[in-house]
Amino acid sequence: MNVTTWILQVLEVLAAVAAAPLFLGWVNQCRAWLQNRRAPSVLQPYRNIRKLFHKDAVIANNASPLFRLAPYIVFGTMVTAAAIIPSLGTRLPFTRAADAIALVGLLATARVFVSLAAMDIGTAFGTLGARREMMVGFLAEPALLMVIFVASLISATTALPDISERLATQALGLYPSLAFTAVAFTMVLLAENARIPVDNPSTHLELTMIHEALLLEYSARHLALMEWAAALKLFNYACIGFALFVPWGAAMQQTPLALAAAAPALILKLVIAGAGLAFIETISAKLRVFRAPEFLATAFLFAVLGLLVHLLLGA
């Protein structure tokens, strides 16, 4: 536990925070390409955030302090989560701060504050969005926990860095249980990050939106933080997925050199995952809101099937 490792830890978190909008931009660009549109630049999310930071914030008269505080809390939780998730190295000091279950709780905290802030002003759309967000959340969370339990059963620990290391070092083989849980995790990722089968991130159609409805009352720096937090959430989920299902390439030492060597692997994984995400979004249609529980029940089913198959076949 010396100074270098902490400096590395801080650098890793800063890199995650800085790279998150880039990942979002990459997903958007891939999506535009697949849909035969002219793609916006990968840097577009940065420009949006910069533009929003330069504007003056407008806040409703009846907004409580919670409304002003929520963006900072949400952004803070996402940064903390980025520190806990072993994206670059599994031996960084902060990755041990919380295990995977606490991480799910941390993500739930962010969701609660987003929803509370959306209901704070008392407009119809905010409340509607908050309710839908909570509905999606309470169905996605058990599925996510089940996914983590399967990985925990295989590696006999709930600490995310340890899970990642065990899975990376075990003998290669066919693991039907991990394949099922990977599908379940992808579905949870799509639902939690307001991607297409559940929510359309680029719509302003009142009847279908979830993510946009939550942020409707925010402007300027608050909105910028919320959007940045959303980008960071997508990045975090992708990194949880890498830690569980493609753990190869992450550094297992604390040296700067090992971490620098892990960076290209992470970038490669992110590029592929972003393209895959865009592909899934392009081939699937947006579900009606009332079909979302069915979608998430399927995710839960996949995760539990993974668990049962692991218990029966030991694979």
């Binding site: 249980s177 394949a179 529980p293 069915e294 089913l301 099937l305 049962l308 198959v309 029966l312 076949l313």
Partner: protein
């Protein structure tokens, strides 16, 4: 993992069989249901071939060929033809509460894994751990027959149940005796043909394939 690679593939195929059963349970479209049945047959055929190669048991090759011919080609083809002629090709079936059905399905899987545990302990085959999956496939198909109302999907459930039984026999004892397998194959084929005739009769009587109509006893026709 210490298992040899071919057993790993067999386990993966078994897991996929279970997944297909769930897909059938939640599928609304009849033509997709038939395609899923064909896919289940194909998985079964692949598993049989792999097991035949592993055990060097020649009669398993024959039953793999039988599975391919009957369950992947003939029966789905018959079903496709049937639903085309019945004019229900693109029909969908309203399902009650898919999420609830899935959860009950999961309970069924847990139950059948428990049920199969003593059988697996007694069996000496390399594939004994997948007996639980075979039992689950049978019970899930049974459950599907209970939840469906249309005659066509009930028949698909019946055929899927047969697939499960076949897989169970394969993983517990490396397949049934040849003569029994031929007998069962013939039975299924004949049952399919007879049920096909039944479909037309049911529809002529009630103008629909909904089996709820069969439950009411009416003398005043």
């Amino acid at each position: 993992m210490s298992l040899p690679f071919d057993l790993q593939i067999l386990n993966a195929l078994a897991a996929l069989l279970l997944l297909v059963s769930f897909a059938m349970l939640s599928q609304r479209r009849i033509v997709t249901l038939v395609n899923l049945l064909a896919f289940q047959g194909a998985l079964l055929c692949a598993a049989t071939l792999l097991l035949a190669w592993r055990t060097r048991d020649n009669h398993l090759y024959v039953s793999a060929g039988l599975t391919l011919a009957l369950k992947v080609i003939v029966l789905p083809w018959l079903l496709h033809r049937l639903i085309k002629r019945l004019d229900v090709y693109w029909d969908t079936e309203s399902l009650l509460n898919v999420a609830g059905t899935m959860l009950i399905g999961l309970l069924i899987v847990v139950f059948s894994f428990g049920l199969a545990q003593p059988i697996s302990a007694l069996a000496s085959t390399a594939t004994r751990s997948s007996i639980g999956i075979a039992v689950a496939v049978v019970l899930l198909a049974f459950f599907m027959m209970i939840t469906r109302r249309k005659a066509t999907s009930q028949v698909v459930g019946f055929l899927s149940m047969e697939n499960g039984l076949f897989f169970g026999a394969m993983s517990a004892t490396y397949g049934m005796p040849m003569i029994v397998e031929f007998g069962v194959a013939l039975d299924v084929l004949v049952a399919m043909l007879v049920l096909g005739v039944f479909f037309f009769q049911i529809r002529e009587q009630f103008d629909s394939l909904d089996l709820q109509h069969l439950e009411a006893l009416r003398e005043d026709r």
